[in-house]
C-alpha cells in the first residue's frame, strides 16, 4: 500500500471528527475550514471533499447552518453543532483516546507483555 493511499484512508476516517472539533468553539464557514485544515499537512483536504461532506453532516443532523453577511465580501454560510453533533464529538473524542492509547501500546511493546 502506498503511503499516500494509507494517509487518505486514515484522513477519511477522522475528517468528520476534525470538522466537529473545529466548529465546536464557534461557528465557521467553508473557506475558513479548508484554510484551517490545510494548516496541518496530513489533514489537508480539497474543497471538493469538504463541501459535500458538510452537506451530508447537515443532512444527518450533526450540523446546522445559517447565512450571514460579512463586512468584507460575500455572505457566508456558517456551520455550527447541533446537540447530536456535540454528542457525536464527545463520543468520538473518547474513542479517539482509546485508539491512540492502543496504537501507542502496540508501537511500544509489539504485542509482547510489558
Amino acid at each position: 500500500m502506498e503511503i499516500s493511499e494509507w494517509n487518505s484512508q486514515v484522513r477519511r476516517g477522522i475528517l468528520e471528527f476534525c470538522i466537529l472539533l473545529l466548529i465546536s468553539g464557534n461557528p465557521r464557514y467553508g473557506y475558513e475550514l479548508v484554510t484551517l485544515l490545510n494548516k496541518w499537512e496530513p489533514l489537508a483536504i480539497t474543497e471538493g471533499t469538504l463541501y459535500p461532506l458538510l452537506r451530508r453532516m447537515l443532512k444527518e443532523n450533526y450540523l446546522e447552518s445559517f447565512w450571514q453577511e460579512s463586512e468584507s465580501g460575500p455572505p457566508r454560510k456558517y456551520y455550527s453543532l447541533t446537540d447530536a453533533g456535540r454528542r457525536l464529538m464527545h463520543d468520538m473524542s473518547a474513542e479517539w483516546g482509546k485508539f491512540a492509547a492502543a496504537i501507542h501500546q502496540i508501537q511500544l511493546h509489539r504485542g509482547d507483555e510489558a
Binding site: R12, Y29, T46, G48, P52, R55, W67, G73, P74, K77
Partner: protein
C-alpha cells in the same frame, strides 16, 4: 465574478441533477461564496476554480453524499433499481447457484467414492463392479488406476464448478453494492 467563474457555477448547477432545487441553489450559492472569499483573500479566481476541481466531479460528490444522507427513506427510483436487481440477477441466481453447488458437491462426493471403491476393489472385493462398457470389466489389478482416472475427471469438474460458484458469488455482491450505494460508503469521494 468573471464570465469564467459564472460558467463554472452554471455548469455545476446543471450537473446537480436529482437534488431538490432549494438545496441545489444553496449549494451553488455556497460555492459562489467560496470563490468570492478566495478572491477577497487575494487569490486569483482561476486558482480558486482549479482547487475546486472539475465541476462534474464536484457535482458527483454532492450527489453521492446526497444519496447516502437520505438514510432509510428510499425513493421510488431506488425501489425500481432494487426490483430490477432481484428480477434479473436474483432470478438468474435461483438457477445458477443450486446448479453449480450441486455439481460441485455432488462430483466432489463422487471423487471420494471412486477412490474408496478403487482401494476396496484392489483388495479383491469383486462385488464392486467396474466396467467401461456393459460386460467389459476392468481387471482387479487395474482397479486403482481406473479409480484414479475417474476421480481425476469428477474432481476436476467439482473444482471448476466450485471456482465458478465462488466467482459468481463475488460478482453477485459486487452488483448488489452497485445498486445500493449506501451499503458501500467507500464509493467515490476522493480525498
Amino acid at each position: 465574478m468573471s464570465p469564467q467563474g459564472r460558467a463554472y457555477l452554471d455548469r455545476f448547477h446543471q450537473l446537480l441533477s436529482g437534488i431538490p432545487d432549494e438545496e441545489k441553489l444553496d449549494a451553488v450559492r455556497e460555492i459562489e461564496s467560496h470563490i468570492a472569499e478566495g478572491i477577497a483573500h487575494g487569490r486569483r479566481e482561476s486558482e480558486v476554480l482549479a482547487r475546486l476541481g472539475d465541476p462534474r466531479k464536484l457535482a458527483r460528490a454532492y450527489r453521492s453524499e446526497y444519496i447516502m444522507g437520505r438514510g432509510s427513506n428510499r425513493s421510488f427510483r431506488d425501489m425500481l433499481a432494487m426490483a430490477g436487481f432481484y428480477c434479473t440477477t436474483g432470478l438468474l441466481s435461483i438457477m445458477v447457484i443450486p446448479t453449480l453447488a450441486t455439481i460441485a458437491y455432488g462430483f466432489g462426493l463422487c471423487t471420494v467414492l471412486a477412490l474408496l471403491a478403487g482401494i476396496i476393489r484392489s483388495f479383491g472385493q469383486t462385488w464392486i463392479s467396474m466396467s467401461i462398457y456393459p460386460g467389459v470389466e476392468i481387471p482387479t489389478q487395474w482397479s486403482m488406476a481406473y479409480a484414479i482416472v475417474l476421480a481425476g475427471i469428477t474432481g476436476f469438474i467439482a473444482y471448476i464448478s466450485r471456482k465458478y460458484l465462488r466467482k459468481y458469488m463475488i460478482f453477485l455482491s459486487a452488483s448488489y453494492k452497485k445498486i445500493m450505494p449506501d451499503k458501500a460508503p467507500d464509493s467515490d469521494f476522493g480525498v
